[in-house]
C-alpha cells in the first residue's frame, strides 16, 4: 500500500514562534489517522498546511507522491471539514453541498443526483431547502461533512469536527464518521484533543507535543508502549516513576527512584542511565512485604468509585501519589495500611531519553 500523504521535515514558524518542528509523517491510503495533542501543539497548523491555507516554512508535502507546494487550495485533491463548520450562510443546504460540484462545472442532472445521494448518506434527506441557521449543531456538522465529501477527495481533513457537540451526539457521530470512512474508503486525517475519541476511531494515532511528533502507532501500541513520557501521561491514566538505572541483568533492570527500588523488563538500558517507568493503574499489584525488586512502601489514602471501577490512591514516602485500579468487588488494601506496590516485569514500560521532560516535571514539584 502506498503513502497518500507524506510530510517530510516540515517546519512552520510564525515570527518567533516555532509551531511545527521538523514533522515527518506518512499517511497510508484508506486509513483513519488521528492527530492528537493538547491545545496549541500545532494540529490545526499541520492540517492547514496540507490543505494549502498555510505554507510550510521548510520541508515538503506530497499527496500521492506529487509535491503540492505550488498548488493553491482549490487545486488540491484534499477537502476539509472545518471546526466552525464554515457553512455558507446565504445558501440552502442543497446549494451548500452542491457548491463543490458547481465549481467543477459538473452537469446539473449529475449534481442533483450526487447531492441527493450524499444527503441520504449523512441522513439529511428533506433538508434541501433549509438555511444553515435553521439547523442544529449536529445537522450542520453533517452538512459540513457532506459538502466536503461530495468532490470525492482522496483525503479528507477533519479539524475537531465534533468539538462543539454534546457527549451523546458526539458518540453517535463518531460511529457514523467511522462508518462513512469505511464505506467510502477515503483517507481521513482527523484532528482532536480528545484521547478517548482518538483511541476508539483511529487506525493509527500521531501524538503531537509542542510541535513535535512524539509517537505514531496503533491505539494499542500507543497505549501499551508509549514512546515518551508525554505520551504515557497523555493517553489514559498512568503511574510515572523517574529514576536512574542501578542494575541490568537478564533483560531486566532495577531502577533507583527517590523512595527505593523498582524493576521492569528491558533490554535497552545501561547502568547509570536516567529512565522513566510507566505502569498503568490496572496493572499495579501490591503485597505486605518488600522484595529485592520492589522496596517502596506506600500508605493507602483514599478510594474513588468510578462506575464499576474502584481507584485506590496510595501515597509514597515523598508525597507522590500513585493509583491502583480494580473492578468493583476485587480485593483491595484497607485504608491507612502500608503496602508494597509492585507489578509483573513485562507490564511496565521503560522510556528512555526523557531527561528534559524529567527536569521539567521536577521543576513543577512544590517543596514544602
Amino acid at each position: 500500500m502506498g503513502y497518500i500523504v507524506e510530510l517530510e521535515n516540515v517546519d512552520k514558524i510564525y515570527g518567533e514562534n516555532h509551531v511545527v518542528k521538523s514533522l515527518n509523517l506518512k499517511v497510508e491510503e484508506g486509513e483513519f489517522l488521528t492527530l492528537l495533542g493538547s491545545s496549541g501543539c500545532g494540529k490545526t497548523t499541520t492540517l492547514r498546511m496540507i490543505a494549502g491555507f498555510e505554507e510550510p516554512t521548510n520541508g515538503n508535502i506530497r499527496v500521492e507522491g506529487e509535491a503540492i507546494e505550488d498548488k493553491e487550495p482549490y487545486e488540491r485533491d484534499v477537502n476539509t471539514v472545518f471546526q466552525s463548520y464554515a457553512l455558507f450562510p446565504h445558501m440552502t443546504i442543497y446549494d451548500n453541498i452542491a457548491y463543490g460540484l458547481k465549481m467543477k462545472k459538473v452537469p446539473k442532472d449529475e449534481v442533483q443526483e450526487r447531492v441527493l445521494h450524499m444527503m441520504d448518506l449523512v441522513q439529511l434527506g428533506g433538508f434541501e431547502k433549509r438555511y444553515p441557521s435553521q439547523l442544529s449543531g449536529g445537522q450542520k456538522q453533517r452538512v459540513a461533512i457532506a459538502r466536503a465529501l461530495i468532490n470525492r477527495p482522496k483525503v479528507l481533513l477533519l479539524d475537531e469536527p465534533l468539538g462543539a457537540l454534546d457527549l451523546k451526539l458526539r458518540k453517535q457521530m463518531q460511529l457514523e464518521l467511522k462508518r462513512l470512512q469505511k464505506k467510502l474508503n477515503i483517507t481521513f486525517i482527523y484532528v482532536t484533543h480528545d484521547q478517548e475519541e482518538a483511541l476508539t476511531m483511529s487506525d493509527r494515532i500521531a501524538i503531537m507535543h509542542d510541535g513535535i511528533l512524539d509517537q505514531l502507532g496503533t491505539p494499542t501500541e500507543i497505549y501499551e508502549k508509549p514512546a515518551t513520557r508525554f505520551v504515557a501521561t497523555f493517553i489514559g491514566e498512568t503511574n510515572i516513576f523517574d529514576g536512574a538505572v542501578a542494575d541490568v541483568k537478564d533483560g531486566q533492570v532495577q531502577v533507583t527512584i527517590e523512595n527505593g527500588i523498582i524493576s521492569a523488563k528491558d533490554f535497552m538500558s545501561k547502568s547509570g542511565q536516567y529512565v522513566t517507568i510507566s505502569v498503568r493503574p490496572e496493572k499495579m499489584k501490591f503485597r505486605d512485604t518488600p522484595t529485592t525488586d520492589f522496596t517502596i512502601p506506600a500508605v493507602v489514602k483514599d478510594y474513588v468509585y468510578v462506575g464499576s471501577i474502584i481507584k485506590c490512591v496510595v501515597e509514597l514516602p515523598n508525597g507522590n501519589e500513585i493509583r491502583i485500579e480494580r473492578l468493583a468487588g476485587q480485593e483491595l488494601p484497607e485504608l491507612g495500611t502500608t503496602i508494597y506496590p509492585y507489578w509483573d516485569m513485562e507490564d511496565a514500560v521503560v522510556i528512555h531519553g526523557q531527561e528534559q521532560e524529567m527536569l521539567r516535571a521536577m521543576d513543577s514539584i512544590q517543596f514544602s
Binding site: A51, G52, F53, E72, P73, Y74, V78, N79, T80, F82, S84, A86, L87, F88, P89, H90, Y99, G100, M103, K104, Y131, S133, R147, A148, N151
Partner: protein, 269 residues
C-alpha cells in the same frame, strides 16, 4: 383599588398617545407644508397665502425644463457616484480587512478625516485640485467630488458587516475548488450584500441632497438642491414643492416596500 388602577392606566395611555402625536407632528408638519403648498392655487410671490386647491403646479412642472434638467443632473450624479463609490469602497473595505500591511492603522484613521472635516473645507480643496489639474468644472467634477465624500461611508458600512465575517467560509470555498475570484462573487459578496446595500443607500442619499460641496465644483451645471437654493431668494415656487412632493412619494413607496420585505427576496434567512 381596582378602579383607581384602571383609571391610572387609562391616563398613562392617553399620555403616551399624546407624546407620540406630538413627536410625529413635529417630524411631519414641515413636510406636510410642502405637500399642501404644492397644491396651492396662489400665483403671487412669496406663494404662501392659501388661494384654493389646484394640481396646476404638477402640470406646470413638466414645462419647467430648467427644474427638470437640474433634477435629471442630480439623478445622474447620484447614480453614477453611488455606483463608483460603492465599488471602490467595498473593495477598499475588503482589502483592508483581509490583508495586513504596514501603516494599516494609520490608513484606517485617515478615513475619518473626510467625514469629520467641515464640508466647506472639502469643497475648497476639491475646487483647488480641479483648477490646478485643469479639469473643467461640470458633471465630471461633481461626480468625482461626490465619489470622494461617499467612499468613507461605504467603507464604514461594509466594514461593520465584515467585523462579524467568518473568514473560514472563504477558505471553505477555495477548499471546494473555487478560485479567489469565484470565491469573491459566490461567497464574500453575497454575505456582505446587506452592508454594501446600506453603504450604497447612504451614498445615494448624501449625493442627492449635497449642496455645499456641489456649490464649489459645479461650474455651470445646476443640481436640484442648488437650483432650489437659488429659487428660494424669491420664495419657494409651488412647482418646486410639486417636484419635492413627488420625490417624497417615491421615497415613501421605497421605504414601505423595503420595510415590508417585498424587495427582500431572501427574507427567510
Amino acid at each position: 383599588m381596582r378602579m383607581k388602577r384602571r383609571k391610572r392606566t387609562v391616563l398613562t395611555r392617553i399620555r403616551d398617545v399624546l407624546f407620540c402625536a406630538i413627536i410625529y407632528l413635529f417630524l411631519f408638519l414641515p413636510i406636510s407644508v410642502i405637500v399642501v403648498n404644492s397644491m396651492n392655487a396662489t400665483t403671487s410671490k412669496p406663494y404662501l397665502a392659501w388661494k384654493g386647491f389646484t394640481l396646476a403646479w404638477y402640470v406646470r412642472l413638466f414645462d419647467n425644463t430648467e427644474l427638470l434638467g437640474s433634477f435629471r443632473n442630480t439623478m445622474i450624479i447620484a447614480v453614477v457616484s453611488t455606483l463608483l463609490s460603492t465599488i471602490i469602497g467595498t473593495m477598499g473595505a475588503v482589502g483592508m480587512y483581509k490583508y495586513k500591511f504596514k501603516g494599516k492603522s494609520i490608513i484606517d484613521g485617515l478615513l475619518y478625516i473626510p467625514v469629520v472635516i467641515p464640508e466647506i473645507v472639502l469643497g475648497i480643496s476639491l475646487l483647488t485640485i480641479f483648477s490646478k489639474v485643469n479639469i473643467p468644472r461640470g458633471m465630471l467634477t461633481l461626480i468625482l467630488a461626490h465619489v470622494t465624500f461617499s467612499i468613507p461611508f461605504v467603507i464604514f458600512n461594509v466594514r461593520a458587516r465584515l467585523a462579524g465575517y467568518d473568514n473560514s467560509i472563504d477558505e471553505a470555498s477555495m477548499d471546494l475548488g473555487a478560485n479567489r475570484i469565484q470565491t469573491f462573487f459566490h461567497v464574500t459578496l453575497p454575505v456582505l450584500a446587506p452592508g454594501i446595500a446600506g453603504g450604497a443607500l447612504l451614498a445615494f442619499t448624501l449625493s442627492i441632497d449635497d449642496i455645499i460641496i456641489s456649490y464649489f465644483v459645479n461650474g455651470q451645471v445646476k443640481t436640484y438642491p442648488l437650483r432650489v437654493m437659488e429659487s428660494i431668494k424669491s420664495g419657494v415656487a409651488p412647482d418646486v414643492n410639486a417636484l419635492s412632493t413627488l420625490i417624497l412619494i417615491a421615497t415613501i413607496v421605497f421605504v414601505v416596500l423595503t420595510q415590508s420585505g417585498i424587495l427582500n427576496k431572501n427574507k427567510k434567512r
